[in-house]
Subunit: 902 residues, 2 copies
C-alpha cells in the first residue's frame, strides 16, 4: 500500500489513477463520484475519502489503522472546516459529518453509515444556538446516538425502539409520530439513550468527537465483513479482497427553516423524455422526510404542477436557487451523458448536491432522451445507443401490465401462475370454448379463452379471443405455438387452474393460497409476458408509438455486424417482421401449417396410415396447400432469405382426441376404427421431447419430408418465375448423428433435382441443420460435411444440456433462481454461457474447421435477449433470429454488442 | 511401388515385411495367411499372390498392368506347374487354378472369384482323361464358363440360368438338380454357354489360357471398385486406397473318386471345448457340396459318430489321411494359438488345407479351451485372456434362448417386441394379475405375468412369476427396475401388445403382422435379453456351470487395473455381487426401497403432503425402514465401499392410481380426497425424464434427502459399532449446476455432523455426484469443488446427449441401426465414444484439474459392455459398475483392456 491514505474530494489523483476504474478501486464508487462532481464545480459538501487499502490493512492487521492515517485525517478535516467555516467539536459552531462506506461497486444497504457525527452534549447546544432550532439539534443528536449505539457500540436496535416507545406512551400515546415529540421530549430521549448505551454498549457514548470518528470509521470497515455483505458479494461474484472505502463528508441540513429544503430531481421527464426538470421537494425538511412520504412534496417546476399551486413550486418561491439547480443539472447531464436523478438539499438558500445517478425511465422516454442528447450534441450516436436498455424496447411493442413485482407492491397478487407462452396483456370475460369466443367477439365483447388445453379445433376461438390461458401444456404446446403465431397473449400450463367445462367454471388454487372460483363471463386479466393470471380487470397499457425509435434503429443498423432475422410462420408475420427490420426469416416452422383446420384430417390420415402407400396418398392432398403456404411467404420475403424448418413435432400431437374424430379418420382410411385407435395408442410417448420427432420421422417416414421439400422447391420455382427473388434455406431439425443429415441432404437434393429437370429451370437453395442437441455440437465437423448452415436452436439445446424440460421446470426452476440462487437467470430466457454457450462455441469451431464459409445463426428465443445477443456477437455468429416484436431489441442489442466488444 | 509384383506362397518376404500387418498390407489377408501355412509345412495347394500395389497401379493407370508383371507371373506359374506336375494349358495334364481377391481386411463376398481357370475345349478333354471322369471335367468347364462369362465378359447372370433351365426342360424336367444332368447334357450345356458368351459377351470365351488368366486378374482388380465393395468399405471405415491383392492357386478336387472328399474340421469340440477333432466330410465331393447340404455328411472322428456308423468316418476309412489331418490341425492350433476351423480337401488320398480361421464356439467351450491351451503350454495366460470374447460370458449366467436371428432362421418369429428390460429367458402360462401369479406359483405352476404396466401392488406377483412382460413403460419403468432387482427376466414397453384385463386376453399385433390372441393360461416364452415375446414354449437353455471360469477370472484379476463394482439395491443382490467378484457397490438405488409394499402408502403421503410438517411426519415413518435397508446392505458388503444414490424418481411414479388408493392417502393425511387428487394432477409431467426429479426434489423438498442421509449415516454408525467395516459413499443424482451440489454437500455434512455429535463417534463417508447431464460434464471443475467422486451415469447421459428417450426410441433406433446404418451400435448398449465419450473425457479432465485425487467411475449399463469398458480403461476411470451377472464380463473385459492398451 502507498503512504497516502486519505484523499480530499478536491485532490488530484495523479497519473497512477487516471483510469476511472483505478479511481473506483482505490476510493470506491461513491468517493470517486464525489471527486468528479467537485471537479465539475458542482456544489457538493466537502469531505474526504479513506482508501480501500486502509480497509484491507484494518482487516488484516487486527483491526488497527496504518501509520500516518490519523495525521492525514486531521489534515483533511481541517480543510473541510475551513470550507464550511465550522469546527469539528467546536462548542459554538460545530461541524457535523457523515461517515459512509463505498465499495468498488454499489452494494446498496449492505454496509453501515453514521450521520450527524460530531454532536456531543456540548456541541449540541452550539448547534441549537447556531441554527436557532433547538428541536432540530436534539433530533439530530438522538439520531446519532441511536445509529452510533447500534452500529459502533453493539446495542440492540430494538432496545432503542423500546426506550422510544416508553417515552411516547409517557408523553401521551404510543402511536405518536417522531415528528410530534416536543423538544423537551427529545432532550429526555437523548438522556435515556445515553443511559441505555452506558449500560448495554461496549463503552459509553464518546463525548470526544475524535473518538466518535475513529469508532465510526472502524465500524464501516468492519461492516465489509458482515454476513449480509459477504452473501451479497457471493451472489454478485464480487471479491472479498476489494474492501470498502470510507467517506467522511460535511453534513448539510434541509430542515433549517423556510429557505431550506430537500428534493429529488430528474433532469428530464422520466415518463415522456421531455427536456425539463422534473422533481419534487419539501421545504424545511431532510432528505429522509421526502422518502418517508409523511408530507406531500411540492413540484420543483411550475410546468406540470397542479393547477393553482404553481406558486408553491421551488421555481417560483426560490427562483435563484432554481436557476442554480437548472445549471448544475445541465452540467451533470452533459458530463455523464445521460439523464440524471439528482438528490438535492437546500440549506438556507444554498443548493447542495448529495448524489447523482443515471435516472430510471420508461422505455419510450429512454428512446427519446437518447435521440435528443445526440441532437443536442451531448452524445455521439454510439454513446446514445449504449444508453438505452435494449430489453426495455419490448414494452413499446406489446400491450402490457405493470410487472408482477410492481403489482404486488400495490397488493395485487395473481390468482394463478403459468408459463409466459406468448407476450402481451389482455383483459376480458371468461369463455370456455371456441364457439362462444367467436360469438362473443362478433357481439363486440372482449373475451379470454380458458381451456384445459387447446387443439386445432379451437383456432377460430383463439383468433376471436383477446388472450388464451390453458391449464396444461408447455411453451411448445398447441396453445403456445398458435398464440405466438397469432400475436395473442397466452399463459400456458397454468397448473394452478382446474377447468370444469360442465360447470362452466375454473378454480384457481395457488400453492398455499385459497381457492378462487370464476364462472363464465367473469373478467380476468392475463400477463402473457410473465405468465400470470389476475382476477378482474387491471389497467392494460397499450403499445406505444415512438417516433424517435426509427432513428435509433437506423443508427443501430449502421453499427451492428450481427444480422437480424425473424421467426415467422405465416405471410402476415413475415410482413410484420419486415416492418420491424427483419433481414430474412431465420425460422419458418411448418407445424403450424399442418394444424390448419381444413387440412388436419388429411394430416391425421398421414400419421395413422397403415401403409406407406396410404400415407403417400394423403400427403398428396396436403402438398398443394403446403406449396401455397410457401409461395405466400416467399412473396412476402421477396429478396430475403427464408429458412424453412421441416416438420418437427411429436406425431402424437396430431392424433385425434375424440371418438368422432377417430371415426372420421377410420372412414377416410377405409379402416376399422379399432385398428386406427390401436395404432394411435402405440404412438404414445413417455418423453415426447426425446421421442420420435423431426428428422427421426423424416427418416422412418421419408414421404413426409419429401412432400415438404417438393412443395417448397415447387413454390420457389413458381414465384421466381413470377419475378420474386427467392432464397430458400432448408433446415433439418433435431439432428444428432452425421448419417442422419447425410441421408436427408440426399433426399433434398434428389427431390430438387427431379423438379428442376421437370421445370427446365432451377433456383438456388441451401441445406443446413438446426443444432439443438449436445451431440450435434460435438460432431459438428461431421455435420458440416452435409450442412451449408447451422442454426442453433437454443431452446431445445438448453433442455438437453441441462436435462430440464421447459414444460416441467415450473416446479423447481423458479425456486432455483429466486430462493436458492443456484441460477442467476432462467437459462431458457438468457443463454447459459458456461454450459450451453460452450457447446455452441465448440460447434462453431468444428463447423468452421470443416467448412470455413458455413453460415452460423441462432433461432432460439435467446435471439431476443440482449446478453445472449452479446454472446452471439462474441462467438462470431452471422445472425440471430427472434419473434418479430423483439426485432428492435435485437437490432439495438446487436449494435451495443458491436460497440462493447469493439 | 517396388519392382517385385508377384510373391510365391513359399517366398521369403524379407525384413521390410517382417511385421504381419505389413505382409497383409502388401499381399492381403488371404495371401499372407497362405504364406504362413506353407511356411508351417501345411499342405496348401501351391500358388502366388499379385500384390495390392499392382491393383493400385491398374486402377490409376487406365487398367494397365505394370512392366515386368507378365514375366513374373509366368515365372511363378512355372514353379506351381513343377510342384503339382501339371502344365498350364497342357492338353494332356492341365493345371487348373483359382483366381481370388484378398484385401488387407476380410470383405466377404464383396469382390469376384474365378475357379477352374485353365480349362479350354482342348484341356477339358485332357482333364476328362486324366481324372477318368468325363462328367467331372465338363461340370468344371461349364462352371468356369458361367463364372468367367458373368464376371469377366459381362454376360448377365440370368442369361446362364435361362439356358440351363431350357436344357433341363428339354432333358425332361425343369426341376432337375444340376447333379442329375448326365454327362452329354453337360457337354451340350458347355456348347450353349460358349454360344451365349459369343453373342452377349464383350468377347468370345478365350480358348487361350493366358488370355483367361489376364482377364480374370483384371476382373478381380476391377471388383475392388464395384458399388457393393465401396459401400461395404464406407460402412467399415476401410480406405479405398488399400486395393486388393490377387491370389492364383492350383485347384485341388475332392470329387475325384472314393479316395477324394471335402470336409470342415474344428480342432476342438466347439460346443464343449473338449480336445478332439470335430467335423464332417463328404466323400467324392467338392467343398461347395458340403455347404449345399444335399447329401448328409459323415463324421471325421469315430468318437461322437452315430452309433453303428463309426466305420463310415474318415478316421476309420482313411486312417493315414486322418492321422495327417490330426497332425496338421495340431500344428495350426499351436501356431495360431487358438482353436481352428479348417477347410480340407482330400484329392486321391492326399489332404490339402484350403483355409483356416479361428473357430466359433459356445461360451463355456471358449472358457475351457482358453484355460486348457494355457495348461498345454500353447498360450500364456495373457494370450488366453485375449482369446475369449468377454461379451459371451453373459450366456453362462442367465437362462437363455437362441438369438432372435437364430430362431428366425428356423422360422420362429416373435409375436411381439419390446425393450430388453431384464435379461434371461422364461416360459410359462399367462396370468394377468399378481394374485393369480402367486396362487399358480404355490400350485407349482410356472407363469408369466402380463400387465399393461406394473405398480408396487404387483410385486408379490412379480416375485412368483418366471418373467414379466408389460405393454407400456421403459427401461426405467417400475416393471423393469423391480424385475432387474429380483433377477427376473422382463420385456417392457411391448407396445405390440394390447392387454384386456376384462376379457383376460392379450392381443399381439406386430407392425405389418397378423393379430394373435392369447388367453390366460396360454403358454408364451420371453427373451428378456433381446426384448422378444414368443408364442408357445421354446427350449430355454439353463445357465451353465463352468469350472474353468474361476481360473480365468483369477488370471483376469491379476492383469486388470480397472476395478469392478456391482449395481445392487438389496442385500440379496449385494451377496450375489460379492460371489461374482464385486469390489464394492457402485450403484445402490434407493427407489426400490421406497416401493416396498408396506411403506408405499407412507411414501405417497410424503409426496402428496400439503405442508412441510406433514411431509416430515410421514418421512419419519419411512426412516427406520430405510435405515434397516442400509444396515443390511452394509453388512453384506463388509469391508467394501457402497455408493448409495439418493432418490432419483419422478414423483408422479409414486402417485396413487385407483380411487381407493387416493382415499387411503386422503384419510391418512386427514384431507379431502379432492384436494389430494388436485395436487396429484399438478404433478403430471410432459417429459418426466427432464422433470422434477432427483436433486431437484432434494432441493425443493429437502426433508426427503435429509431423511435418507440420516438413515444412511445412522445405519453406518450402528453396523460399524457391531464391527462391520463400512465405507459409505453418498451420491447426488442428476446434478447439472455447481450450486445444486454445493447445497446438497452441506445438507449431507450438516446431517452427518449432528448424528456424529449425538453418537460421540463418527464414520468416514464420501460425497460425490452422478454425472449424467451434458452440462455436468462441462462444469465438472465446479462440481469437483464439492464432489469427492464422480460416477458417470451413462444411461441418462446418452439420453440427453442424443436427445433420445430410451423408452421411446423403439420406433426409430432399430431402423437407424439395422436398416439405415446411421449408427453402428445401440448407444444405450455400447458407449458412443464420439459424443457421450467426449463429454465423459471432458468431465474427467476438468474434475481432475480441480481435485487431482477425485475418484472416477461409471455405473451405467455400459459398465458391462466390453468395448465400453475398454473406453473406461483408456479414459483412466478407477472402476466400472454393472449388474451382478455381468461382473465376469467386466472383469475379463477390464483385463483385456489392460492388455490391449499396455
Amino acid at each position: 500500500m502507498t503512504d497516502k491514505h486519505v484523499y480530499l474530494f478536491d485532490d488530484d489523483l495523479g497519473a497512477a489513477y487516471a483510469e476511472p476504474q483505478a479511481q473506483k478501486d482505490l476510493l470506491g464508487g461513491k468517493g470517486a463520484g464525489l471527486m468528479v462532481m467537485r471537479r465539475l464545480g458542482i456544489p457538493v459538501p466537502p469531505g474526504f475519502t479513506i482508501t480501500t487499502e486502509v480497509c484491507n490493512h484494518f482487516r488484516t492487521h487486527d483491526q488497527s489503522f496504518p501509520d500516518g492515517l490519523e495525521d492525514q485525517v486531521r489534515e483533511a478535516l481541517k480543510s473541510v472546516e475551513a470550507e464550511v467555516e465550522r469546527g469539528f467539536g467546536d462548542a459554538k459552531n460545530p461541524l457535523l459529518v457523515s461517515v459512509r462506506s463505498g465499495a468498488r461497486k454499489s452494494m446498496p444497504g449492505m454496509m453501515d453509515t453514521i450521520l450527524n457525527l460530531g454532536l456531543t452534549d456540548e456541541t449540541v447546544e452550539g448547534l441549537a444556538e447556531g441554527s436557532g432550532d433547538r428541536r432540530f439539534a436534539f433530533d439530530a443528536y438522538r439520531r446519532l446516538l441511536q445509529m452510533y449505539g447500534d452500529v459502533v457500540l453493539g446495542v440492540d436496535h430494538s432496545s432503542f425502539e423500546q426506550v422510544l416507545g416508553d417515552l411516547k406512551r409517557e408523553l401521551g400515546s404510543g402511536r405518536m409520530l417522531d415528528s410530534e415529540i416536543p423538544t423537551d421530549g427529545l432532550e429526555e430521549l437523548v438522556k435515556r439513550y445515553k443511559k441505555l448505551i452506558a449500560s448495554e454498549g461496549s463503552t459509553p457514548f464518546p463525548q470526544d468527537v475524535w473518538g466518535q470518528l475513529w469508532g465510526a470509521v472502524g465500524a464501516v470497515f468492519e461492516s465489509w465483513d458482515n454476513q449480509r455483505a459477504i452473501r451479497y458479494r457471493r451472489m454478485q461474484g464480487f471479491s472479498d479482497d476489494w474492501g470498502t472505502a470510507c467517506n467522511v463528508q460535511a453534513m448539510v441540513f434541509g430542515n433549517m427553516g423556510e429557505t431550506s429544503g430537500s428534493g429529488v430531481c430528474f433532469t428530464r421527464n422520466p415518463s415522456t423524455g421531455e427536456k425539463m426538470l422534473y422533481g419534487e421537494y419539501l421545504p424545511n425538511a431532510q432528505g429522509e422526510d421526502v422518502v418517508a412520504g409523511i408530507r406531500t412534496p411540492l413540484n420543483i417546476t411550475a410546468k406540470g404542477a397542479p393547477i393553482g399551486r404553481e406558486d408553491e413550486t421551488l421555481e417560483r418561491k426560490m427562483p435563484e436557487v432554481f436557476q442554480t439547480i437548472v445549471e448544475l443539472c445541465a452540467k451533470l447531464e452533459a458530463h455523464y451523458g445521460d439523464m440524471q436523478d439528482v438528490e438535492l438539499t437546500v440549506e438556507r438558500g444554498k443548493a447542495w448536491v448529495l448524489q447523482t445517478r443515471t435516472g430510471k425511465r420508461a422505455a419510450h422516454a429512454a428512446v427519446r432522451i437518447a435521440k435528443e442528447l445526440v441532437d443536442e450534441g451531448v452524445l455521439t450516436r454510439e454513446q446514445a445507443l449504449m444508453n438505452v436498455d435494449a430489453s426495455m424496447l419490448d414494452q413499446l411493442l406489446h400491450a402490457r401490465l405493470p410487472t408482477p413485482e410492481e403489482l404486488e407492491k400495490n397488493g395485487v397478487l395473481p390468482v394463478a401462475s403459468g408459463l409466459p407462452a406468448s407476450p402481451g396483456a389482455a383483459t376480458g370475460k371468461i369463455v370456455f370454448d371456441a364457439d362462444h369466443a367467436e360469438e362473443a367477439a362478433k357481439n363486440g365483447e372482449e373475451v379470454i379463452l380458458v381451456r384445459r388445453e387447446t387443439s386445432p379445433e379451437d383456432i377460430h376461438g383463439m383468433k376471436a379471443a383477446q388472450g388464451i390461458v390453458t391449464a396444461t401444456g408447455g411453451m411448445t404446446s398447441h396453445a403456445a405455438v398458435v398464440a405466438r403465431g397469432l400475436g395473442k397473449c397466452c399463459v400456458a400450463g397454468c397448473s394452478d387452474l382446474q377447468v370444469d367445462y360442465d360447470k362452466q367454471q375454473v378454480i384457481a388454487r395457488r400453492d398455499g393460497g385459497d381457492a378462487v372460483t370464476f364462472n363464465a363471463g367473469d373478467v380476468i386479466t392475463l400477463d402473457g409476458t410473465h405468465g400470470k393470471v389476475y382476477g378482474g380487470a387491471l389497467d392494460v397499457v397499450a403499445a406505444a408509438k415512438v417516433p424517435e425509435l426509427e432513428t435509433l434503429m437506423e443508427w443501430a443498423d449502421e453499427v451492428r455486424t450481427l444480422r437480424v432475422r425473424a421467426n415467422a410462420d405465416t405471410p402476415r408475420s413475415a410482413r410484420l417482421a419486415r416492418s420491424y427490420g427483419a433481414e430474412g426469416i431465420g425460422l419458418c416452422r411448418t407445424e403450424h401449417m399442418f394444424f390448419a383446420d381444413e387440412r388436419l384430417e388429411a394430416v391425421r390420415c398421414v400419421v395413422l396410415a397403415s401403409s406407406a402407400e396410404k400415407r403417400q396418398q394423403w400427403l398428396a392432398r396436403v402438398e398443394p396447400m403446403q406449396q401455397q403456404d410457401f409461395a405466400k411467404i416467399f412473396k412476402a420475403m421477396d429478396g430475403l432469405p427464408v429458412t424453412v424448418r421441416l416438420l418437427d413435432w411429436p406425431l402424437h400431437e396430431f392424433l385425434p382426441r375424440e371418438e368422432k374424430e377417430y371415426q372420421a379418420v377410420a372412414d377416410a382410411l377405409l379402416e376399422d376404427v379399432s385398428a386406427v385407435k390401436a395404432r394411435s395408442r402405440q404412438m404414445h410417448e413417455v418423453n415426447p421431447m426425446l421421442g420420435h420427432r423431426a428428422v427421426r420421422v423424416g427418416l422412418t417416414m421419408p414421404a413426409i419430408y419429401e412432400m415438404q421439400v417438393r412443395a417448397l422447391i415447387q413454390a420457389a420455382l413458381d414465384v421466381s418465375a413470377a419475378g420474386v427473388a427467392v432464397h430458400p434455406e432448408i433446415m433439418i431439425p433435431v439432428v444428432g448423428i452425421g448419417g442422419e443429415l447425410a441421408r436427408m441432404r440426399k433426399l433434398v437434393d434428389d427431390t430438387a433435382k427431379a423438379l428442376f429437370e421437370k421445370a427446365g429451370r432451377s433456383v438456388e437453395y441451401h441445406v443446413g441443420t438446426m443444432i439443438e442437441l449436445p451431440r450435434a455440437c460435438l460432431v459438428a465437423g461431421e455435420l458440416a460435411e452435409s450442412a451449408e448452415f447451422f442454426s442453433f436452436g437454443t431452446n431445445d439445446l438448453t433442455q438437453t444440456t441441462f436435462g430440464i424440460s421447459r414444460d416441467d421446470a415450473g416446479r423447481f426452476l423458479p425456486t432455483y433462481i429466486d430462493e436458492l440462487q443456484i441460477l442467476k437467470a432462467d437459462p431458457f430466457a438468457r443463454l447459459d454461457e458456461s454450459g450451453v454457450g460452450e457447446l455452441v462455441a465448440i460447434a462453431c469451431e468444428r463447423g468452421r474447421a470443416q467448412r470455413p464459409d458455413i453460415k452460423l445463426g441462432l433461432c432460439g428465443e435467446h435471439g431476443g435477449d440482449p446478453p445472449s445477443i452479446d454472446f452471439c456477437h462474441r462467438t462470431g455468429l452471422a445472425y440471430v433470429s427472434c419473434s418479430p416484436p423483439r426485432l428492435p431489441i435485437a437490432r439495438l442489442a446487436a449494435a451495443q454488442a458491436a460497440l462493447r466488444n469493439a
